[in-house]
Symmetry: C2
Subunit: 251 residues, 2 copies
DNA sequence: GCAAAAGTGTTACCCATACACCCATGT
DNA sequence: ACATGGGTGTATGGGTAACACTTTTGC
């Protein structure tokens, strides 16, 4: 429903009085992930005010009256990172967090998004935050509000989507090697994969990646130069690329 | 973030003025699915007022100041169906719809949920609606607002989750036969499945179903009585039960 | 030459598919 | 008897896992 309830719930007189209720603030929170130095990293901002002053928090902000949550998320991301046109950006709704006490000041309903970036640019400490920085995903750093949970949910969702979608290319620059793509899976899943099998699997999925004709790149200085690939048109992976060895995981 | 933005965005004076902005209404919408007479059906309510008077719409209502969206969804469902303790109910957040113009009257952000019911009880035309009824999912019946899209998203999500989760048991009564479980898959996916293979697959997944010791049921009057099963403790399906034949589906 | 990273080949095994067949019940 | 739905068995093929091996670069 939308505003149907007001009409039928004995609030007929108040049905168009927008201030009849305690207002809800609607915000967006962004779990922005990237891979740097072979590790999963998160974009965080340092809070300057109470509550949670000095704590790290997910970037985000208010949804403005004339924009959707998706638009707000893109805008906030641009403001925080200073990049309005990030190539390869993947932005996707995660879920909405609406526990009444999640912000001590007022009722805040937050639509959380997951964003993935390749080759992470250093964030400008934007208008919104005292400090903004990439920090390793695995760290003993309690975040403000319920942001630890949001971040964990985002990680879980991304890990799951790698299995049955072509999402991994969103972590890679426009042209990438299969080794880099494999590193994405290994970093997010925390599991080593067999290179020959990974290679076959990816190449056997039509539209996942397509070769760049003349391309080759030296990856770590040493080793054979690797062929370059671009992301293809496919978005789904059939059959899926399943995470190895999760037996004894009935629940 | 939550209400961080107000502090740092040159609104310091207004940071705790809850009425500084055009308020958002926050609602929940419910895509309640069930299987009746071998067909997928949806719980819909008929609108009595403009806009969309006479149209069918998804049940739903306002999130109250002291409850989460999840709580509101459960409450609204109980109000609409008249059943506060539905056995086997599965309620899950779908996504949030926040386009600024989705309700012509005011700014309404709606958190949509998918709910699955076994053996659908006839809904009471509750406090909220002129009429409430189960209607077939496949029908030429434009819904109010953006509810067609919400319903389509819910169907797609449920279909996908059948592949890699034990969700199908949520469509079944507490004790069910494997034939009934298979009907769930076939009805939601719209594809016939091979019975022997389906059977093996389900029984080979530990924790998906567990046999009811003495149980047997005559299914359609005719035929051999079928063994009864209960839902197990598992929630995930590894390996997944993939939908057949979706080749040529690169996007 | 050696280490490191890319890339190819091969084999065994698992599992899904497809289909044939038997069992129990109502009419 | 026969139709209907439950349940079992089995052969075949595709895909994955595991691992050996070759190629190309830098040091």
């Amino acid at each position: 429903m939308t505003a149907k309830g007001v009409v039928n719930m004995a609030f007929d007189k108040a049905s168009y009085d927008k201030y009849a209720y305690e207002p809800f603030a609607v915000t967006v929170d962004l779990a922005v992930l990237t891979i740097r130095d072979g590790a999963l990293q998160v974009l965080l901002v340092e809070r300057g005010q109470e509550p949670y002053a000095g704590h790290w928090a997910l970037p985000g902000g208010f949804v403005e009256p004339d924009e959707s949550a998706e638009t707000a998320a893109g805008r906030e991301l641009a403001e925080e990172t200073g990049l309005s046109d990030v190539t390869g950006l993947h932005l996707e709704q995660l879920r909405t967090y609406s526990e009444p006490d999640r912000d001590p000041r007022m009722r805040v309903v937050s639509v959380a998004f997951t964003a993935l970036l390749p080759d992470a640019p250093e964030p400008h400490a934007g208008s919104d935050a005292a400090r903004a920085s990439w920090l390793p995903y695995h760290a003993d750093r309690p975040l403000a509000f319920d942001h630890d949970r949001i971040l964990a949910d985002a990680h879980e969702r991304v890990g799951a989507k790698l299995e049955y979608s072509c999402l991994a290319t969103a972590f890679c620059p426009p042209e990438f090697t299969l080794g880099e793509l494999q590193q994405v899976y290994e970093t997010v899943w925390g599991t080593p994969l067999d290179r020959p099998n990974f290679r076959r699997k990816v190449l056997a999925t039509p539209g996942f990646v397509e070769p760049v004709p003349g391309g080759a790149r030296l990856t770590g200085g040493r080793g054979k130069p690797a062929a370059l690939y671009r992301a293809g048109q496919a978005t789904a992976l059939h059959p899926p690329l399943l995470r190895p060895s999760r037996e004894g995981r009935p629940a």
